[in-house]
Amino acid sequence: MPADASAEASHSLNSNLKASKEELLKYYRDMLLIRRFEEKAGQLYGMGHIGGFCHLYIGQEAVVVGVEAVKRKGDQVITGYRDHGHMLACGMDPKGVMAELTGREGGYSKGKGGSMHMFSKEEEFYGGHGIVGAQVPLGVGLAFANRYREEKKVSFTYFGDGASNQGQIFEAMNMAQLWKLPAVFVIENNQYAMGTSVTRSHSETHLYRRGASFGIPGVEVDGMDVLAVREAARDAVEHARSGEGPFILEMKTYRYRGHSMSDPAKYRSREEVDEVRAHNDPIKRCEQRIIDADFADATALKTIDKEIKEIVLKSADFAMKSPEPALAELYTDVVI
């Protein structure tokens, strides 16, 4: 693929994209789990059960679910602070994630990490990082270790449009290409870095070109279509796994909620958000594909939703009942 693949080459709404019944229903279910989980997290936050910062992934579900579809066992994921979706997509237990949000002992970090800081060795999830862009060099390091051991593993490093302006992103990209590391950079371009739109902060708004000066190929992807994401990710991961070096995927996506829970959203119009929700929602679009292919009817999809809601309720219940960490935990897992 050329280093500067044009936007036209990206995967648009495309009826040529096909998936089996099992695949589509799995993606639907996984996206719905994230959606319902985040809605519940928002509720718990509103009720005062989650404190501090909480960045919801609603609207962006197709990105992680589509990428996850091409991940192999052993591939690693690392991301920033909007991380709940990534954790659920890679198979972490919703109970442990929700209990981390409520700051309880049953959370992945025993409540000491919070919304932005969770890890799972078992699922090869390397966090949850609260400093914008700081995870990107780490993702390159993960890839380096894979290559050093001659394992065919790939690291997936997610970051946002805002993070894509951080200096260390470019340092990381240069090293990844210089050493031809098996790294896939997934830029989740939800179009707003907190309250600053891409056009107000990026001199070059095509973020798939961020690696152009290093010769890293990149493509723009319809990040609201899970199948478009999957196909683009398949190309990217093939490139990285085969020893060709890193690849950049710019996922054009959208977050419905505020940057965090305290966001007056004055930087965009209500109509803009409603328009996306109505016509470009990743779950609705997946649902449409399912219905069109006659893989399930509305009743069957409702049943799935019911099951998902049950899982989420149980996670919330667990997160509320799990005790707070003992005071002695303050001084565990730290060098002093």
């Binding site: 000491k112 890890f119 060099p137 780490l138 993702g139 390091g141 240069n174 730290v334």
Partner: protein, 338 residues
């Protein structure tokens, strides 16, 4: 057993660990082909291969960040920041990623990474090649900070650092690379080959992290020092005739409180010495700790001898440097206090 300079001892430490542990990789700016600006990694690429000892672009944040990623994924990177003064772009990675991943991953992930950096002045480096930023590291919980004062310790401590499961900042006083500098800049250089601690065992050994050592036993005043200042304190003691007990801290964090307390309880007096600027320097922490733990044993106020609160000047390097005269004056002052 061989007589080594501190540079050779540091190189030998990396060589030894690379030979026994294939997960150890060494990289940084000019570290591979060139062998490091101070030659600390010379020949390592030739011996261990380009995949294990290699050059990185000039991007300190990227170097440390990438090393952290390697470390959480099973490797033991030992990276070089060319001068401690260059570490600031990497401070974000050190303070917010390396030091905290153990805590926020509930102990699932640790960061076995060593960051080596030459520190301190004495080579006319001016304000951007002479700094001693140790207090910026000791202020961070979750990392260890080490400052060796001689080749024997440098090798043993560096091996211990690379084999440690947590991040270690390894500050190498560059004025000590070639000899035990005691602050008398106008006298001929004494090489490590004439100093007993230039005697460095072959092969693998460690000097434990977190353990100080008493360099000189004395009865009247405890001197807390590390790096170059250990040798300066020795010279000051000899020149003043004050019977000082000189403690070489070796590891600043975690600190060997027992050795400090025992000594201060015996002598009743304490002088803290460092080359870094004074305000909020590591000496402030040491003074506070001694005061909190040994107050009723003290016969004089704890006294600090440090660099001035100025940038490291080029022309007036030796006016800045807290040499034997300033340390000696402090020793006399605390002896006269009652």
């Amino acid at each position: 057993m061989a007589r080594m300079t501190m540079i050779e001892a540091i190189r030998d430490a990396m060589d030894v660990v690379m030979s026994v542990n294939e997960n150890v990789v060494v990289f940084g700016e000019d570290v591979g082909y060139f062998g490091g600006v101070f030659r600390c990694t010379q020949s390592l690429q030739e011996k261990h291969g380009k995949h294990r000892c290699f050059d990185a672009p000039i991007n300190e944040s990227g170097i440390v960040g990438t090393a952290i990623g390697m470390a959480v994924n099973g490797l033991r990177p030992c990276v070089e920041i060319q001068f401690a003064d260059y570490m600031y772009p990497a401070y974000d990675q050190i303070s917010q990623e390396a030091s905290r991943i153990r805590y926020r991953s509930n102990g699932e992930f640790t960061v076995p990474m060593t960051v080596r950096m030459p520190t301190g002045g004495g080579i006319f480096g001016g304000q951007t090649h002479s700094q001693s930023p140790e207090a910026l590291f000791t202020h961070i919980c979750g990392i260890k900070t080490v400052v060796p004062s001689n080749p024997y310790d440098a090798k043993g401590l560096l091996i211990a650092a690379i084999e440690d499961d947590d991040p270690v900042i390894f500050l190498e006083p560059k004025r000590l690379y070639n000899g035990p500098f005691d602050g008398h800049h106008d006298r001929p250089i004494i090489p490590w080959s004439k100093h007993p601690l230039g005697e460095t065992p072959d092969g693998h050994y460690t000097v434990p992290l977190g353990k100080a050592v008493i360099r000189r036993v004395g009865q009247d005043v405890t001197v807390l020092a590390y790096g170059t200042m250990v040798h300066v304190a020795e010279a000051a003691t000899e020149e003043t005739g004050v019977d000082a007990e000189i403690i070489d801290l070796r590891t600043l964090a975690p600190l060997d409180l027992d050795t400090i307390e025992e000594s201060v309880r015996k002598t009743g007096r304490c002088v803290v010495v460092h080359e870094a600027t004074r305000t909020s320097g590591y000496g402030a922490e040491l003074s506070a700790i001694v005061q909190e733990n040994c107050f009723y044993a003290l016969e004089a106020p704890v006294t600090r001898v440090t660099g001035w609160d100025t940038p490291y000047p080029h022309a007036q390097e030796w006016a800045y440097f807290p040499g034997p005269a300033r340390v000696g004056a402090a020793l006399k002052r605390v002896m006269e206090a009652s």
